[in-house]
Amino acid sequence: MRAGCARSRVPEEPARGAALGQGRKGGLKNHMEVVPRLRQRQNSTAAVGERDQEASFGKRPILLWLLRTRGYYELATPGGGAGHAPRGGSHTQSATSRPAPRGTPPPPSLHPRDPPSPTGACAAVRPRPFTLQPWSPAAKMAAPSVFWGAAVSYRLFLGGRVSLALRQGVWKAAAAELQILRLRHTTGVTAKKNVAALRRETYTVDFIKKQIEEFNIGKRHLANMMGEDPETFTQDDIDRAIAYLFPSGLFEKQARPIMKHPEQIFPKQRAIQWGEDGRPFHFLFYTGKQSYYSLMHEAYGKLLDVEKRQNQLQAKGLFSEKTKTKDLIGSRWLIKEELEEMLVEKLSDQDYAQFIRLLERLLTVECSAEEEEFVQRFRRSVTVQSRKQLIEPLQYDGQGMAFSTSEGKRKSAKAEAIVYEHGSGRIKVNGIDYLLYFPVTQDREQLMFPFHFLDRLGKHDVTCTVSGGGRSSQAGAIRLAMAKALCSFVTEEEVEWMRQAGLLTADPRVRERKKPGQEGARRKFTWKKR
């Protein structure tokens, strides 16, 4: 997975394997955790400047933090400080968008004097949320630079030196100074243990925060580009804008470009569970699944509370047997994967089942509002009715007879059907009676299906035209067209039933392409042993 262009969500297994090729081999273990820092650093050109800065602010953690989180953006591009100062926002973009995949030209929005990323391979260690590079100066100007207020002063200061530094082998310099930086880095922020990093790619809190900021800035830039108001630019708008700017013909929806909040892209990770003295923070740490067991503990505690309360009521004689039926329709329990994601912990099937059972038991007894709310946290709503079916309007012909027209497709046959409201069940296909057009019973059964389903067998007259496809696909196309046309004569509920029966869904199956090296789509050539 390469960063720089619009990226999709991270697949479960690091497909960053390509870039991690080096990480997998034992020799470059150090390199792995160096790399995250590196990618932030090497383009930020903060190599030299950073060192100086840190040297000067070493004892002032807050400024250091500011520098790290904010200053890197400014220091991203070399080549003159003041002239590029206003490109505060854009620097971040170029910083992060620069590690372009090998072989592809860098995005045009990069400054021509920006050095190409030397770490193209290892730069793509992690997926980066896409951040757009606004090209027009106006957009850049419009980018709010309120964030950079504090760090503006640094830019001018560092600009000159930065360019020099970059020209000379950023790589070596960066690698060298990173050792130093790492030490400093651990002071302010809860640092990840290196062992953890070896096992799996981990994202520091800093990194995530940075990604979030980049995302927000990128969002605003995108809003500007699309001519919308940055303040009210929602995730839906972002999706639409990305789909518009990067139209993709890929079938797999998850392989298409997306731009989402980093929370949704980067998997949640846990901070270190123990302090400096090695003592774990959580009392259930040694169970191995601390979040799960603490959750169970909490839930069971609530159950005991409720039962105690009920016993008290019963003792007082105020216990009422009423059980209010909770509206469980329209929501479902969390699935195991979702629970795992919530707890950031691996669960087994039995654990999950146990937990759900406990929650259900909690539901059966009467519980107060807070317990309800606790349980509702673990339920997700399920759309009761999927998207509304478009209902064709009725039209009226000369004699005042109502009719409705619609189209249907199947495989390469296109059909258009006109269903009249009152009739005797005659169907004409291309001017020919359907008995003669479809001599095979199976095709006629397909035509019968919508009417039979709605119990309107002899009540409508149909005229349809069909072209393309074969005998069976023409029958399917007409069936779809008729079902859609019938929607206008039928109640909403029945439309929903038809949808559930599959009458209103176009069959997506098309002919699979033949692949080279095979005789057909799936059939391989005859295998000969010799």
Partner: protein, 349 residues
């Protein structure tokens, strides 16, 4: 119904015949009056019943009012595939048989123009071809159909079959038929003789002649027969066809001609063709002109209902939904009230 008579339905006619037989009176509603058993080889219901329908009734009405002094009137039953033309023809034949007519029934003329094995040069006429097998089959049927008349009708000429055999003038027709059956080589000529005699003698008024041909469009279409030198045979080169054409011409009186068009067995004709013009071709149309066309269409709702009732009464439909309203509607939709389709559908249930 005289048990001696057998009704031979054409090869395309379905095995199970539906509903109710007519007593020759009502010509309005196609409702049941009675059923009879016949010795027909219909194993399914152990009886053969016809549904009385409008086209047949119309024909019978015409038949009753024919003036036998005029030349024979031609009626052509036409309609889409599976609507019941053949069975209407059978109905008419049955009626005429009951009325004691002489029936000349060709179950399927298409059989004469395709898939024939032994084609011999005609003994009578060198240019034509004989079909001994088909001719002998037909003669056998004719014999069983019209036993009574075979002894009555006398031959009016002398026919010499070969050096040793000949039929004298005045001998009964049965002899000719026997001759054709026994000497297969002369069967076609025997058929020709029979046809000629009947044509000549029906005008005399001794009996009434009904010529019933199913699939008459075969007489004017193409054949799939080839001679030994692989050249195609035209229909008129077949002696049987030639003679039958002469029979179908309305230059005689004292009877009627009832014909049926059929696409099912026809050669080189599109599936959707059912009009006389399309199926007969120009030649046939001209030859048959003038004729009275009778359209046979799909079942009307009442007819459909009665057909289903018949099936149900005979426990032909075993599906539990068959007797419900929805089931009937389904069947109606799927078969579109086409008798042939309905029969095929019900065969599965």
């Amino acid at each position: 119904m005289d048990p001696g008579r057998l009704l031979h339905t054409g090869s395309q006619a379905p095995q199970s015949l539906a509903a109710h037989l007519d007593n020759p009176a009502p010509d309005d509603s196609p409702r049941a009056v009675s059923r009879t058993s016949e010795k027909d080889p219909v194993k399914t219901f152990s009886e053969a019943c016809l549904m009385v329908r409008k086209p047949a009734l119309e024909l019978l009405h015409y038949l009753k009012n024919t003036n036998f002094a005029h030349p024979a009137v031609r009626y052509v039953l036409y309609g889409e595939k599976g609507t019941g033309k053949t069975l209407s023809l059978c109905h008419v034949i049955h009626f005429c048989a009951k009325q004691d007519w002489l029936i000349l029934h060709v179950p399927d003329a298409h059989l004469w123009v395709k898939s024939c094995r032994g084609l011999l040069p005609s003994t009578y006429n060198k240019q034509r071809l004989d079909q001994p097998a088909e001719a002998s089959i037909w003669l056998k049927n004719f014999k069983t159909t019209n036993e009574r008349f075979l002894s009555q009708i006398k031959v009016q000429e002398k026919y010499v079959w070969n050096k040793r055999e000949s039929t004298e003038k005045g001998s009964p027709l049965g002899e000719v038929v026997e001759q054709g059956i026994t000497r297969v080589k002369n069967a076609t000529d025997a058929v020709g003789v029979v046809l000629r005699e009947l044509k000549g003698q029906s005008s005399l008024g001794g009996f009434r002649l009904l010529v019933a041909v199913d699939g008459v469009n075969a007489l004017w279409g193409k054949t799939t027969l080839k001679r030994e030198d692989k050249s195609l045979v035209a229909p008129e080169e077949l002696a049987l066809v030639h003679n039958l054409r002469k029979m179908v011409k309305n230059d005689w009186h004292g009877g009627t001609i009832v014909l049926t068009l059929s696409q099912t067995g026809s050669l080189f004709k599109p599936r959707k063709a059912y009009l006389p013009q399309e199926l007969l071709g120009k030649e046939g149309f001209d030859a048959l002109d003038p004729f009275i066309p009778i359209l046979v269409s799909n079942y009307s709702p009442k007819e459909f209902e009665s057909c289903i009732q018949y099936y149900l009464e005979n426990s032909w439909l075993q599906h539990e939904k068959a007797h419900t309203e929805e089931g009937k509607k389904e069947l109606l939709f799927l078969s579109n009230a086409n008798p042939g389709q309905l029969e095929r559908l019900c065969a599965h249930l």
